[in-house]
Structures are given as C-alpha cells and as structure tokens.
Amino acid sequence: MEKQQRGGTKQKRLVLVGNPNVGKSVVFNYLTGMYVDVSNFPGTTVEIASGTYKNYLIMDTPGIYSVSSFNDEEKVARDVILEGDILLNVVDGVHLERDLFLTLQLAEMGIPLIVAVNMMDEVKRQKMELDLDALENYLGVPVIPIIAAQKAGLEELTEKLHLARPGRKSQEIEKLMKPFIGREISDVKLLLALEDDLQIDDIPDKREEIYFARRMHVDELCKTVVRYKNQKRGIGDRIGDLLLKPAVGVPILFLMLYLAYQLLGVFVAGNVVDYLEGLMQSTYEPWIQGVVSYLVPEGSIVAEILVGEFGILTMTVTYIVALILPLVIAFHLFLSILEDSGYLPRLATLLDRGFHKIGLNGRAVIPMVLGFGCVTMASISTRILGSDRERLIAIVLLSLTIPCSAQLGVIAALLSQIGFGYFILYVLIILAVFLATGTLLNRVLPGKTTDLLIDIPPMRVPLIKNVLQKTWSKSMHFLKEAGPIFAVGALLIGVLNVTGALEFLQNLTAPLVVSWMKLPKEAATAFIMGIIRRDFGAAGFFNMALSKEQTLVAMTTLTLFVPCIASIIVILKERGIKQGLLVFASCIFAAFLVGGVLAQFVA
C-alpha cells in the first residue's frame, strides 16, 4: 500500500481483520464515520476501505479464514496486515471454533492485537456461555464483548485500543521460530514464511504442521471458553436446514426467481429503465448535442462519433446511466440480501450437484445469477471461481446462453406476443444449449472441477444498512471498472459505423440470415446491432413483420449470438485475445447453427 497518509502526525495504522460476515464493517463504520475512502488494492480487484479515527488510520480488509495467500483477498489482507501497527480482530461469538483459527494466527504475529467478540446477543439467544476471561488469559491480549449491530461495547472497545499488545505464541510456534531468532526479521514475516505465504530464502515450509497444531489449540481452547447450556437451535437454523432439502429448496428457488423477475426484470429493467431513458433522451442528449455543436461542426465525423447515433457522449452515457446503472444496482441489492441472509451458500449447496455436471461447482451460482442482470458484470465476477477451467466454462456459458436483463425484457415482450408455448420452447432450447455446452466443455477440457467446501452460516435477517453499503460499493466498483470499457466499445462501433464497416458486416451476414435462417434481410442488421447494445438487437425485430416461427428463430439466435461489445472487451481481458476470439467465433457459429437448424425444423 502507499504510505501517503502516514506523513506528518504519528498516525497509527489499525487494521481490521476477521472472517467473512462477522460484523467487521459495522465496527469499521462506527470508528470511521462518514469519511471513508474506498480504493482498489494495486493489481487486484479487491477493495480496501480506509478512514480515520482520532490518530488512527483505520484499514479494513476482506473477510478471510486465515492470513494466507490462496486468493487475492487473502494476499491483500496479508499485505495490509504486514503494514499494520495494531490489529483489531472481530470474531463471531457464536462461531469461535471457526473464527479463533485466525485469531490465534494473529496473536502469534507479534503485532499488537485486540479482539472484539461480536454477536453477544446471539450468543445469549443460543443459550451459550463464553468465558472471555479464559480467552483473554490464553491469548494474552484484551478481549472485549460487543454487539456491533446495537453499538453495544463499541465505546469500551475504542477506550481499550491502546491496550492492544502482541499475543501469546504456542509452544510449537516458539520451537519452529527458534532457529531464526536473532535474524533481522519480524515475527510476522517469519511466521508467514514458515507458513509458506512469504518466500524467504532458507525458511522451510511448515504450514501443515503449524495449521494442525493451531487447529488443535483452537479446539482445546473452545472446550474451556464455550459452554453450551442447551443445544436447541433457533428458528433461523431450522429454516436454513429446510432450504437445503430439494423438496423445499427448489420451490423456494423458483419463488425467488419469480420475485427477482418481477422486481428486476419487470420493474427495474422495464419501468425504471424506460423512465430514465426517456428522461436522458429528452433532456441530457439534446443539451450535450448543443454543447458539442459549438465546438465541432455538425455532421462531421468527430461529431458523429461524439454525439451521433452511437455517440460516446449520447448513447453511451444514456446507456450507462439509464440502463446499466439501475440494473447493476438492483442486482447487487438482490445478491447482497441473499448473501447476508445466509441463503446464498445454501443455494450453492443445493445446486452443487447440477453444476458439477457442467464442470462447475455450487459457487458458480453467483456469476450465473448476475448474468441475467448484466453479462459484463457476471464475466468479471467469474474471478471468484476456484480454477481457471471453471472460469473458462462459466464465461463461455455466460456469453453464449445467458440473456442479460436488457435483452431479456425485449425478448420476453416479443415472445409473449406469439404465445406462451413459444416462450416455453425458447426457454427449453436455450436450456438445452446451456447444458449441452457445459457438459461438452466438462468432457473435453483437461482437469477436474474443484469441490465445494464452504461454511454454511446461520440464517439471519440482513441489516439494511450493511446491504445498502455493500450494494453501493460493489456497483460503484463495477462502474469504475466497466465504464471506460463501455466507452471504448461505443467508440469502436462509432468508427465501424462512419467507415462503413458496419454496413459491410451486415451485407456479409445477410445471405446467411435470409437463406439459412429464413429471416428478412434486416434481421442481419439487428444481430449486428445486438453487439452494440444487446437490447438494440432485440428491439430491431419489433418493426419487422415476422411470422411466429421466425420470431422464435430470431430470438434464439440473438440470445446465443455474441454478447455486447463491453462484455467482449471484458472477456478478452479476462481470457486473453486468442481464447477470447475463439469463444466469440464459437458463439457466432453456435448461434447460426442452432438458429438455422431450428428454422429448418419449424418451417
């Protein structure tokens, strides 16, 4: 990290560390108040929020199960901790067995540590008793009980920050560290080197030994600290268990999908987007066209690229503000609620078996759900998947078969005009292509799918404030990353348009569209337009006199056809040029193949 904020006053870096979903962000917000700076950690997509409290610079870290280097989140947390002066570890009092693994590791690092045990209300409700004095004695650092959501205990926590001190090391760690004492190396670096998370010359990898010992100590410690008065589980847990049963979980999933469709597909993608788009086209676009006409002569190439039909300042801005932004926010809102309530890991578990058939595991549910919002956003989110093989499969499935909500709205409108039967047929065809492609890739790609191994947190009613914060930060992050990509895409299309290349492409595909797919010549234009904005493509079909069969063929082909220019760029970035182009070539081929075969069938 840069050290810009360090100069001048003796500001201490206080690093917040904790497992995912332990209420770390609530503590962070309490300490930092309104002035939070969210920045991208260099070289990663991981965000680090920082703010100040008195003379502390507070730095948040991603939720992790231990300081390690298996993924970007862990590497970022590791690097921030290495720079820390004080560590504040937030743990979930109900899940000490899980959370103390990280705590013990932090205690061994030799950096001053203070531990906040959160969810003390839940601890009481679960009829558990925690002997926090025993925990404090064992760790050798202050332990403060808090209920972050109610702000209870937070004042005491801030008053005791200065009491933070390096924790106790276990015998095993002392023994392993001993040969290296006297070297110019800090305890934290030495520990991480022994755990193989930092590469330092001759320090051996003792990770498994250390991890086993640590896990043993955690389990022993929990026996003295945690007492269960009553193992009765709450209503949330019982609901959680039910959701894992296919007989309950699958109907609930369909209910959730229906709700999502109504909220996201109908209300946001329809009403909200229509309203905003109209607003932008009637107020913003004429205004910017006016401004530009002062600077550049109307009708010139530059004017065409800036404010023309596909202008960067007209179409792209309207597209991002009126269409992408509301959809991205709505989808992140939906996903944050699912995540914070504990539903998402259960859904991942329920769907794991199905996903395995197409070479993915349950965690792929996240990019797939996001795909229905925006394929560009979903393609970025494939980074969470466990292996490169899974990321490739997910990206192919997304760009080939998942219609984003911009497109889905128009497709649904067109298909509903020709009857429900055709709509079902459309869904079945796309689903068949989805399953066939996934199965095929799973067979031909070398390697194996990684296995699901996830913690199933208790079901909780999500905190509105946290959900909103998460939604906002994720949406802004997406916009920062994808905004320029949308602009570059529009620029590219603008250039293709003014140079006549767009028309050339349309004429090139026209014969195929007419003879093989039995669609009117203008359909070629609509397909090409779909690359600019997926909804443009579908909308183009509104003005064509198509038979029912032709509509079905057109909508199927359009869905399978390459995604929009922004997704194309993201996919090229994620997969590299060679593989990216191969993905698109395959998509185009598959789209025309399936569309054509379908045309021969229904004709």
């Binding site: 558990m128 329920l350 996830i454």
Partner: protein, 87 residues
C-alpha cells in the same frame, strides 16, 4: 468408511483428508483428523452437510468420498441393530 456414506444424525470422527490445498482449507474451516462431526443432511448424490458443534459445513460429494471417517459403531461404542442399519 468415507464421509459420503454417513447417514443424517450419525456421528463420526474424521480419519484422513486428501492432500493439497483442500487439506489446508479444511483445517481452516475446522476439519482435521480427529475432529468429531455429525452428519446433518445429504443432498441426494450432492454435497454432505456436517456439523461440528453449532458450525455447519457443506462438502462436495467428490471430496466427501475422499475423506475417511470412523463411526462410533466401528469404534465399538455402539452395538447391534442401529449400527447395522447405518451400514
């Protein structure tokens, strides 16, 4: 026997876990040789959900096949028909 064969409600002690990254991840989540667990639920031919005190963990079917466990029956603590029914 292996973890995927446990019936809901059955208790067992983990014996061995596969090598590699997954082993480290399991230890972090609280699973290592000697850990006592209870099978909570099995998704048909899908993941096995186990609990360790109040914590619940989902383990993919493939991985569950590679984790060996000792049931109480195997350790000779339980007797007779209940044990037979499980196996």
């Amino acid at each position: 026997m292996t973890l995927n064969k446990l019936q809901p409600g059955q208790r067992a002690t983990l014996q061995d876990l596969p090598q590699g990254l997954v082993r480290i991840q399991a230890v972090r989540l609280g699973l290592m040789p000697g850990t006592e667990i209870t099978c909570v639920f099995r998704v048909n031919r899908g993941p096995v959900i186990i609990s360790k005190n109040l914590q619940q963990i989902a383990i993919g079917q493939e991985l569950a096949r590679q984790i060996t466990v000792n049931t109480q029956a195997e350790e000779g603590k339980a007797v007779g028909k209940t044990a037979e029914r499980w196996n």
